[in-house]
């Protein structure tokens, strides 16, 4: 079945921009990215869109469809009414390059600030041995395809540009949680999570989880457990007292 859909696509750059309307044929089984490609092929050859795998695994085609952060290649046309006008805009949290393409380098800068996996001294790659139950909790976070939809949706970054230097966003707090839960990682990452990556800015409203195309439970399984670990370290007087006693014992011992 083919029908003509009405698309409103944001066109512009960092200086100006506006919505442009297109009427495009839609075939059964197509996704929004197919339609954007059809507009590009038949009406607007200069329409910019970033894409790669078209299988929901590369995280390149992140944009907003009818105001919701989505992967264009995973948004089926069958989820819309034939009569509906479909609005496609670029990610709103990052600087625009052109049309639907944004500059997501903020995320790479934040990624560089998370110290990499640090095994015990003397343990060489290839000698890592660990139990499955010790690693499976953090394996969920390895499903991340770095589409940065969570970063785009998080209101701490989206609505407050001034927070960008202080807050790394859900993707990288999840990375810190992943490493902190790793059985062979030796760094204590809790203090840095709070002080350098701004975990306290997160008010756990779960939008990152809602938009994750890999269905990672970012808030429940990464951010809240990380907050609880930070509380152990910084805000729990009983545990702090326990640490003092342990240190005293160790000194005497």
């Amino acid at each position: 079945m083919t029908y003509d859909a009405t698309f409103r696509v944001w066109r512009g750059d960092d200086e100006e921009g506006e919505f442009a309307d297109y009427t495009v044929p839609v075939n059964e089984g197509e996704v929004v990215l197919d339609i954007i490609h059809r507009i590009q092929a038949t009406q607007q050859p200069d329409l910019a869109v970033r894409w790669n795998c078209k299988a929901g695994k590369c995280g390149s085609c992140s944009a907003e469809v009818n105001g919701k952060p989505r992967l264009l290649c995973m948004t089926r046309m069958s989820t819309f009414l034939d009569t509906e006008t479909i609005t496609v805009t670029p990610l709103r949290t990052f600087p625009i390059i052109k049309d639907l393409v944004t500059d997501v380098s903020f995320n790479y800068e934040k990624a560089r600030k998370v110290p990499s996996f640090t095994p015990p001294p003397g343990l060489e790659p290839g000698d890592y041995r660990m139990q499955q139950i010790d690693v499976e909790r953090s394996q969920e976070f390895r499903k991340c395809i770095e589409c940065f939809l969570c970063q785009n949706t998080c209101h701490v970054l989206r609505d407050h540009e001034e927070n960008k230097p202080k807050f790394s966003g859900p993707r990288f707090l999840m990375r810190i949680a992943e490493l902190d839960m790793h059985p062979l990682d030796t760094l204590d990452r809790k203090k840095a999570a709070q002080d350098e990556h701004g975990l306290g800015y997160c008010n756990i409203t779960k939008c990152c989880t809602e938009v994750c195309p890999e269905h990672i439970k970012i808030t429940d399984n990464a951010l809240i457990p990380l907050k609880e670990r930070v509380i152990d370290e910084k805000y729990d007087p009983l545990l702090a007292l326990g640490r003092v006693f342990r240190k005293d014992k160790a000194k005497k011992g």
């Binding site: 059985p183 008010n203 609880e228």
Partner: protein, 259 residues
């Protein structure tokens, strides 16, 4: 939203679905509970209908508590003249206020931070939970422990509700069932809590060295996935149990006795 370099899209949101419905319903339901609970807490009457004690007034610790409602004694004494509920409600209130689920619910619906995902929030500045007073949200685990003590007391109330109004054991009425459901839901709400998940095993780095705690963590994690449902159901359970006891105490109707 319109920061330099970003796409110049003036609309606060382009969402075409009914994103406002859930926060609106949350405001209505939570406000209704707050109004009802505040009225009941200050009412200071109709909270005991032998053998049932309203969960909003349990434990009743002041000398002014009605006869029969002070199974745990009256350590507060006679100097206290306000409603006995005001002595204890800070603990369950604190538990719910600092709960990770309720935080999400009221940040979104009452404070609009954000009102919906990808919907612009109305505030110019945002510091999250980095400073006073919201940094106190980190006290959730202490309220969780207080909540467990309250659950034990409310479970005791259920046990002593297996009596008739004259105090003889081996009886049960509809009120017993109402208190039993309310207490059970509170246990599910507490045990599915994120702080509970962390305490039983979440803080460990090596589950393999702590098999019992790993098993507990797995069980709590399973409950935790329904934490929001337990949060709402337990809230309704407490409100309904209190309302039922009030109806009995005010002689609006009599308890249905099963045996």
């Amino acid at each position: 939203m319109l920061s330099p370099g970003r796409a110049r899209i003036p609309q606060k949101t382009l969402r075409s679905d009914r994103w406002w419905l859930l926060p609106t319903v949350t405001v209505i339901v939570l406000l209704s509970f707050v109004v009802y609970a505040t009225w009941r807490a200050f009412e200071g009457a109709y909270y005991y209908a032998s053998p049932y004690l309203s969960p909003l007034y349990s434990p009743c610790l002041a000398t002014s508590c009605v006869p029969g409602s002070t199974d745990l004694g009256t350590p507060i004494g006679s100097w206290y003249v306000l409603s006995p509920a005001l002595l204890i409600l800070v603990f369950p209130l604190g538990f719910r206020m600092t709960c990770y689920y309720y935080r999400k619910a009221y940040y979104r619906s009452f404070w609009g931070s954000p009102p919906g995902c990808a919907v612009a929030e109305p505030h110019k500045k945002y510091t999250g939970e980095t400073r006073f007073p919201l940094i106190l949200q980190n006290s959730h685990r202490w309220f969780f422990i207080a909540g467990l003590i309250f659950n034990c007391i409310l479970t005791f109330d259920v046990i002593i509700a297996f009596r008739n109004p004259e105090g003889q054991w081996g009886h049960m009425g509809l009120g017993t069932l109402v208190l039993l459901i309310s207490a059970t839901l509170l246990w599910f709400y507490s045990l599915s809590c994120h702080a509970c998940k962390h305490i039983v095993g979440g803080r460990l780095k090596h589950f393999s060295r702590h098999p019992v705690r790993y098993r507990l963590w797995t069980l709590v994690s399973r409950l935790n996935s329904s934490h929001s449902m337990f949060a709402w159901l337990s809230l309704f359970g407490v409100a309904f149990a209190d309302f039922y006891v009030r109806c009995l105490a005010a002689d609006w109707f009599t308890d249905i006795r099963f045996f």
